[in-house]
């Protein structure tokens, strides 16, 4: 088996009395799309924040390429090659696409103009931005268009392109299709596939089961602050995954999925069960 590119063991994060991450494990293998699913409040966004450096875990270990790392902020994770596409995209709408792609890591001109005058190499940045968009098949009129003139799907594409351009190890995407229509969602899924095909593994956080089953190679099911199961879409059904994330099903040590008796403990559930 491949060594995981990004791995976590026993992560814990507490906020006062609330435990957001409760001994979670995580494995991302090279070249795969790993979907992370979980109910609201299952703690999947806390997990993702820990992996992208936005949250510092209280306990546990994160490894990149087998090496332990300690992220103190998003910048550390980025330096380690982990790029994140946030749900609100983190784009500056008034600035053009090229500026947004290079926001926070602008390129300076070589020579004294760059080092003394701090001049930016606008030409190189534009060319490189255009190249990334072309490679990913993103069709946009001009690289100098302000982001605010783009459609929702195009903005998503720009944010994804930025992650793809700078991510050397991992791209993490938080609900990339949540705000999009059918056609635009399909394009974003295509984009994810292209990134994987370039050899960059992708972590996809999503609520949308059909999207997950369409694109993911493996599905990490998160429940009650930890990993409840990992399944392959090829070997399982959506119902199974939904069962796992609601707790109606459970995956044993041997990887066999079984039904959980009395898993549903609400009064209504008990009532229904006893009526059977």
């Amino acid at each position: 088996m491949n060594e995981p590119i990004l791995q976590a063991r026993g992560l814990v994060k507490r906020y006062g009395k609330v435990t957001a991450i409760d001994g979670a494990d995580f494995d991302l293998l090279p070249g795969e799309v790993l979907a992370v699913v979980g109910d609201n409040g299952a703690g999947k966004s806390s997990l993702i924040k820990a992996l992208s450096g936005a949250v510092v875990p209280d306990e546990g270990e994160i490894r990149v390429d087998g090496q332990p790392v300690h992220f103190r902020g998003p910048l550390d994770a980025r330096r380690a090659g982990i790029e994140t596409v946030y749900q609100d995209l983190a784009l500056a709408p008034a600035q053009d696409i090229a500026s947004n792609l290079f926001l926070g890591r602008e390129k300076r001109l070589p020579g004294w103009r760059g080092s003394v005058l701090r001049a930016l190499d606008a030409k190189a940045m534009r060319a490189q931005a255009q190249q990334v968009l072309d490679e990913l098949g993103i069709n946009i009129k001009s690289i100098l268009q302000p982001v605010e003139t783009l459609s929702g799907g195009q903005r998503q594409a720009v944010a994804v392109a930025r992650a793809a351009a700078f991510g050397t190890k991992v791209v993490i995407m938080d609900e990339p299709t949540a705000a999009l229509g059918v056609a635009e969602s399909a394009k974003v899924l295509e984009l994810i596939a292209k990134i994987r095909d370039r050899g960059l593994p992708v972590v996809l956080i999503s609520h949308n089961m059909p999207h997950v089953f369409e694109i993911a190679d493996r599905v990490h099911v998160h429940r009650l602050g930890r990993r409840a199961a990992v399944v392959k879409p090829a070997d399982s059904t959506m119902n199974e995954v939904v069962g796992l994330l609601t707790g109606a099903l459970r995956m044993g040590e041997d990887g066999v999925v079984e039904e959980v008796r009395h898993a549903v403990t609400t009064g209504l559930g008990e009532h229904r069960k006893s009526a059977e």
Partner: protein, 314 residues
């Protein structure tokens, strides 16, 4: 069609050109080179304060205390010289204190996370009072260095240019360059446009905003030097409307009060346009109160024209 964000706003530029043409035709005195030079000279102090104001407004802030800071710096410079300090030291002290006040403003905005409007509203009151405590009356300035920007002049292509104008042009060019051609500038725009996006992109938002307030403070210090060149008399009651005048110039120049959009070249146009109007109307024999009406109409008209030309963009 989307118009360029960083070119001076179209509406005000058109208004400026129209005003110049109208006054050139209707008065015999407006289009003299001397007068054009004079108009620039009259715009210097507000134009310089507006430069710092532009930076702060680009970060979605606002500075109500900029003129109060400038006035305090003029008093400090003038009083130190009167008290026997060497003039270069007085100048440096004035610049340093203005920059320090800028830094304090930035610190309160970034560290204590207070809205810039509140911070500078408070500072406006404090600085105005401090100025009046510091000296109850105006201080005449006879020192050649302190009035250097206004008194030293040379001919450039037949146009009279003061050192003050030269310094202002250099400042505008430097800031235009820094805002459009360096990472710092990109970060300033991003921070004003979408601070969370800037943070997630790895920009140190606090440091960027703090740097803006510090630089703005230094610019207000230079505005103080300009002010002493223009009126060699430091007066605790001067420039009471300087904050609003500078905001007017910034807004006329097409910079958005919401931050993240605008340009210093626009501000230059904005600063000139009000002065051109006053100069031209005076030479046309129009009284002061009507000039005020005209200025107000212009502000609304120019910005409306600008918005119209930009379509649905804000």
């Amino acid at each position: 069609m989307t118009l360029n964000l960083r070119t001076p706003a179209v509406g005000p530029t058109i208004a400026l050109v129209v005003a110049v043409v109208v006054f050139s035709v209707t008065t015999s005195t407006f289009l003299e080179l001397d007068n054009l030079s004079l108009v620039v000279e009259q715009s210097l102090v507000v134009g310089t304060m507006a430069l710092g104001q532009t930076l702060i407004i680009l970060t979605a802030g606002i500075d109500l205390a900029n003129a109060a800071n400038t006035v305090l710096a003029t008093l400090l410079m003038a009083k130190l010289v009167v008290g026997g300090a060497p003039s270069w030291l007085a100048l440096l002290a004035g610049l340093a204190v203005a920059a320090f006040i800028g830094g304090v403003t930035g610190g309160l905005v970034t560290r204590v996370k207070l809205p810039p409007f509140i911070v500078t509203l408070g500072l406006l009151t404090i600085l105005t009072a401090v100025s009046r405590i510091y000296t109850g009356q105006s201080v005449p300035v006879t020192d050649p260095l302190l009035s250097w920007l206004g008194t030293r002049r040379y001919l450039f292509g037949g146009i009279e240019v003061t050192y003050g104008m030269t310094v202002a042009v250099i400042m505008y060019v430097v800031l235009w360059y820094a805002l459009t051609r360096t990472s710092w500038g990109k970060h300033v725009y991003a921070v004003g446009n979408e601070p969370e996006a800037a943070r997630l992109s790895g920009i140190n938002v606090r440091r960027t905003v703090l740097s803006v307030y510090l630089i703005a403070g230094l610019i207000y210090g230079i505005a103080a030097w300009q002010a002493l060149g223009r009126v060699p008399n430091a007066d605790p009651n001067a420039y009471q409307t300087g904050n609003l005048d500078s905001i007017t110039a910034v807004v006329l120049g097409g910079t958005s009060l919401f931050g993240g959009r605008g340009s210093v070249l626009g501000t230059l146009v904005g600063a000139l346009i009000v002065t051109v109007l006053r100069s031209g109307l005076t030479q046309a024999g129009i009284d002061d109160l009507y000039q005020n009406v005209a200025t107000g109409v212009l502000v609304i008209a120019a910005v409306a024209l600008d918005r119209f030309s930009r379509g649905r963009q804000r």
